[in-house]
Symmetry: C2
Subunit: 752 residues, 2 copies
């Protein structure tokens, strides 16, 4: 655990200096995005230290052709890669004709702040150049109001008599991915225009997979305020810049305002690209930087009104949950049904694809509960719209029905490890689980009726086909799977997978009946049989569910006995050693208890938590939040608190030593789950909203909001008291620890 | 099963036409090599049809940097790639100024023959060019006498009045691997010289792994016999040629003789390369083509004298075994201790590395029995010399002792699939098994004493460390392994692996005692305990050994029920489907019976053969030979015969539909095993050579030779009679079906 930023603040990210050894993690943390585009917190100036350049446009990607060793039949054809877009954020700074490199320039003061409430980055620093001190003040935001617009300011003030200072900024397509094999460049330049307005158009390179290419048009205008500043246009092979140059005596300054519009052929036909970008930019210029910023902040304020969480008495926990919410809404806000929640959002290039089961398994509840149902519905529609590809994906592995991809941009599987893509099947159940959550939470059955039922039946069909019958034990088994615990592969009868497969079939058959959905009787009978006879490995004596067949044969000892220097295991142990060990990457059996809190006894939850938690190394960012949630249900307050802290500040404190690659966006939603479903004990199954709060002793009051069936509710709880306020909408009956209340104004329960 | 060559001949490979749809498999089959270098049977002329260019130099390779998706800690740093060397075999043919492309030129007659006894390829064909008929006669061989020398002749005769005919031949470094990611070229040109003698020197490109680069010097001289042939030198950026041109009327001809020397920095310091190549070439020129060929054929004749096998009454079986022996000796002849037996030899670029456990598990017995012990000893020394790397390899996965690589050139693991490199551990036992075979067969204990014991102890140490104790069952288990059956991965307690691990420890401890090898008492006790308590999954009722834990939970049905169009599974089923199926790629439990014929009862062998053989799809070339061998031991003559045919003609008849990628060199030795250990029932454990012959009814006499402890023996057997002749050396006591004989001249036993 290492704190990356130097200060902790409830609503801001504050960096007070450049720690060259932690620069990449800091860049990750200072990332900004508006759902349409976003960037890592790279400095405006050149920086030759450890850096990962990252600027990304949602839904723009490349199929990577790289293959290794021994390809297997049925492998996805390509790896879908998040690609670095042409750069428009840099301001190359020159003093006395030499380019300033922040990695080698003494810095007198540095303060960079991301105001998460406003969604704006501001930085002020004083550099000690060879000619004297230079103050730089800059801001950056991606408009949450007009998504295609990025806004920057960059002001230079000489504190000493410096002389020639120049700033070069514009559009630059000379970018590569760090993970590009053979240093491939993913962009072909299509147009480069200079003048008052700069224009760069680039298209993703050809690919042999029939994946559509994307063309992006970037239009930039830079305004300069300052005396005697010379402006010139410079152009390289793949870039175009304006260069601003002035001789600055002590106290002299100039200030740049840069607006960029970014439009793509995802939305606009190729021939209209330049005009569309121009139009948007002209509009933005007309509004002016102040108005743009106002509207941007107002858009963020509207979000915070519904989703904000306060935790009194623990600034670290407070900052953690706000950071997570900020990054989630920066990544996805439900405005484009074709998009999804990339696991690194706009903060890194690691992991391909933009849609994982994380969306349904982790992110869905937060979007469902803290915004209008339309957002959650769009996430469901993403899957419905790719049902055909999911059916093809199942067919590719010889199965009936639908298998949703493990990783995708467009519905086609685009990751290439068999142990994940072909075997990590529980993701298929998460698709159904999200439909179930939506329906139970909103009470709106129209989604299932119009769309969901098709998805549900195809997924049930897949499970029934994938299960194999074991005559000696008279049961159905799921052989050769990988559970959520990715620290084992190709196991038989992963508990969570079997349990959810059974549930998926049952849930689908319930709705088939309710909706009189046409399903062949023989097929329905077979499905029912598979569900009824699904093998579940349970030992009534110990009350333990075996994570998989043979798990109890492992050499079992607690993770606490692993020498400190061997952690994280994924960076120190070879893969086979991890696989055969008893150590669990992330919640597996325990995840089942989160998904289905009402189907297991308290004693079962406790026994399994006490058995599995000590074996869990939480090396997936998805793990601690689930364990925290279930710990709350078990009444294990200490564990719940400890694991929440880890979940909430996973990246801020770089728990898994990989924040440098980008943030763990999707898992951030887990901390909201741990608060709402864990500490507040919220559940809504069966059409009644209920709470079973258990606030950690160390905290003061926790305050959260819920948008539930047209009402805006605010719940507050401490270790001693729970209350619920109705802020909008009609009176509502809720339950707190089993006692019903009618919430009109406020209801309140004393907890001890 | 598809016969690739049009004719079957006992000692020759005969191709009587170009079948464009089967050209690549035919190229594989017509490959030549001399242990030092070799090439696929590519045509001399250009061919734009389906072709895989391949010319390789033993021990010259490249570490490939390509990585995919999610790298895991402990993965090998690179994939060791067999690379295509600069070409010196091509003769570009021009008629009337246009390059002849065999893929689009009508061919009146075509006959290409590889005489396996002589080790020479000869081809005669008549082309129908736009100007009339042209006869081409060519020969090719890689000298088995002076390994650095390649010899070619190329004669052109006009059958009609053709006019301008030209032939261009020389040295060409413009070559790529087909499997190169991003079309990488692996060679940097270092020198290119023209004149009477052509010289090309190229070096493998830089790599970031500290793997030594190789420089190769090619020197060529071409002599021309013919009237009015104009010779010119032409040079490209990466190639240099001599061009021979003449106007040919009907009956006119010219003939080229080309000699090439190939020297590398593996043997000669860089600065001496050109001179060394020159010297060798001058020597060869002095000898002349006829003498070179004579000596080459004599070298082959010496080999055949010891290793030849005849099978009367079955030309297909006869050709099969000779083809296999021919290719094995072309790949490896024991003259260089740093080399090993590449799985594709000089016939393709698929699979990295040059040393697999195939060497010890499959090839070793043939080299041991059909040549002086020095050859087999060199193979053992290869492993002894890389013991340090094997210890590093074990350390990389957190283990004590030594783990020999799955794939290597130089001792370092160079293949990058965890399920193979980290988990397919049985290979480690094969290293010890070869030492055991050598010692038992030769009676020479000096290898163990001087070298082998170190290898054996380190391997025993590895097994003892890798096994984990299971307290409930009071036994040791090997979790997370891949058995020889690579159609399952990450299984617990693969039977063969557990059995061999146990045996390895016992064998090592025996020798530790015999040699009073210094081994810590506590460590020895722990090793002994692991061996004693090694878990072996056996059901006394059915007499079945379970291939792995959970195998019996699979959906079990015979491979015969798989629809024809879904075979081979590896090309039609996705990997996960293969993994969870009951279908077995290659001998696993059954392999144990081959390794340890005396440790299982006939009934056990029969029961397991009858259970596992129907589940086996033999999609590894290593499979049918072992099943055949064990079938002989079981008395299942029909199976033994059927599986032998598949093993012996695996590539000739393209059983696994992948001969196009190259030949399955190492598995070719399996057919010798099936003959000698299967049909002849030869064994030598305990210091006595014994036979239990069971000749297939369909065959006449089978005749094989054995070089055993200074004697040359010839065994002959039919279904009715067995005989053994002593051709060289002192009298020897052998056993035939339990009856002892003293072989002085001939001993004979009637079998029925």
């Amino acid at each position: 655990m290492k704190r990356i930023l130097q200060e902790i603040d409830p609503f801001r990210l504050i960096q007070t200096g450049i720690d060259h050894s932690e620069n990449r993690p800091a860049e990750s943390i200072m990332s900004l995005g508006n759902g349409y585009m976003g960037a890592r917190g790279n400095y405006e100036e050149d920086y030759t230290g450890d850096t990962l350049k990252g600027l990304y446009i949602a839904g723009v990607w490349m199929p990577d052709k790289t293959r290794v060793g021994w390809w297997k039949n049925g492998y996805p054809r390509y790896y879908g890669k998040v690609i670095n877009a042409p750069d428009f954020l840099m301001f190359h700074l020159y003093v006395n004709g030499r380019r300033v490199d922040l990695a080698h320039t003494p810095i007198q003061s540095f303060r960079r702040v991301v105001d998460m409430h406003a969604g704006v980055m501001e930085r002020e620093m004083v550099l000690c150049t060879e000619r004297g001190r230079l103050k730089i003040a800059s801001t950056r935001f991606f408009s949450a109001d007009v998504k295609q617009i990025a806004c920057m300011t960059y002001a230079v003030t000489a504190l000493d008599d410096i002389g020639a200072v120049a700033v070069e900024t514009g559009l630059d397509a000379d970018v590569k991915n760090t993970d590009a094999n053979y240093g491939e460049q993913f962009w072909e330049l299509r147009a480069l225009e200079q003048g008052e307005r700069l224009y760069l158009e680039s298209e993703t390179i050809e690919n042999p997979f029939g994946v559509p290419r994307f063309t992006v048009g970037f239009t930039a205008r830079i305004q300069c305020a300052g005396d005697r500043v010379r402006r010139a246009c410079t152009q390289g092979e793949r870039c175009v810049f304006h260069r601003f140059e002035a001789d600055l005596g002590a106290g002299d300054s100039f200030r740049l305002e840069k607006l960029v519009s970014v439009v793509t052929t995802r939305d606009i036909p190729h021939e209209g690209l330049a005009a569309a970008g121009d139009g948007l930019l002209a509009q933005a210029e007309g509004d002016g930087m102040d108005v743009l910023r106002q509207r941007h902040e107002a858009a963020w304020a509207r979000r915070w009104r519904l989703c904000d969480v306060t935790i009194d008495g623990d600034t670290a926990a407070q900052q953690g949950i706000r950071f997570n919410l900020f990054q989630l809404w920066s990544t996805y806000d439900g405005s484009d049904e074709r998009l999804n929640i990339g696991p690194k959002g706009f903060t890194g290039e690691k992991y391909g694809g933009a849609a994982y089961y994380d969306t349904e398994g982790y992110c869905f509840p937060m979007y469902l509960a803290t915004s209008a149902p339309d957002t959650a519905r769009k996430l469901l529609k993403f899957r419905y719209n790719t049902l055909e590809q999911a059916k093809e994906n199942a067919a590719k592995i010889g199965m009936a029905g639908a298998l949703y991809p493990m990783v995708t941009f467009n519905g086609e599987e685009c990751h290439n490890e068999w142990e994940i893509t072909f075997e990590e099947l529980h993701r298929n159940a998460a698709m159904v689980y999200a439909i179930y959550c939506y329906t139970e939470y909103t009470g709106d059955e129209s989604y299932i009726r119009d769309y969901g039922i098709h998805v549900m039946v195809e997924i049930a069909r897949f499970w029934a086909c994938r299960a194999s019958y074991q005559p000696d034990k008279d049961c159905y088994m799921l052989l050769g799977v990988t559970g959520p615990n990715e620290y084992d592969n190709n196991v038989n009868n992963d508990f969570l997978t079997n349990y959810m497969a059974k549930w998926c079939i049952e849930y689908a058959l319930d709705w088939v009946q309710k909706l009189s959905y046409p399903l062949d009787g023989e097929e329905a009978r077979k499905m029912r049989e598979v569900a009824d006879k699904m093998y579940l490995n349970y030992d009534p004596e110990t009350m333990l569910f075996s994570q998989q067949d043979g798990f109890m044969d492992k050499d079992i000892y607690p993770a606490a006995d692993i020498p400190e220097e061997e952690l994280p295991l994924c960076k120190h142990w070879s893969w086979d050693r991890i696989l055969r060990s008893c150590f669990i990457k992330q919640a597996d059996v325990i995840l089942t208890f989160y998904y289905f809190p009402g189907r297991f006894t308290l004693e079962q939850k406790q026994a399994n938590f006490q058995f599995y938690e000590p074996l869990t190394v939480h090396e997936s960012s998805l793990s601690p939040s689930m364990y925290s949630t279930v710990a709350s249900a078990c009444g294990f307050e200490g564990d719940a608190y400890r694991l929440y802290q880890r979940a909430a500040r996973l990246d801020l404190d770089n728990f898994n030593a990989d924040t440098e690659d980008g943030l763990h966006i999707t898992s951030m939603a887990g901390s909201w789950i741990a608060l709402m479903h864990g500490f507040a004990g919220m559940s809504y199954q069966g059409g009644r909203l209920s709470f079973a709060p258990r606030c950690p002793e160390k905290w003061g009051q926790v305050k959260m909001r819920l948008y539930y069936r047209g009402r805006l509710l605010e719940v507050r709880f401490t270790a001693d008291e729970f209350s619920c306020d109705l802020l909008e909408g009609e009176a509502l009956e809720i339950e707190v620890n089993g006692t019903p209340y009618l919430v009109q104004g406020r209801c309140r329960q004393t907890l001890r």
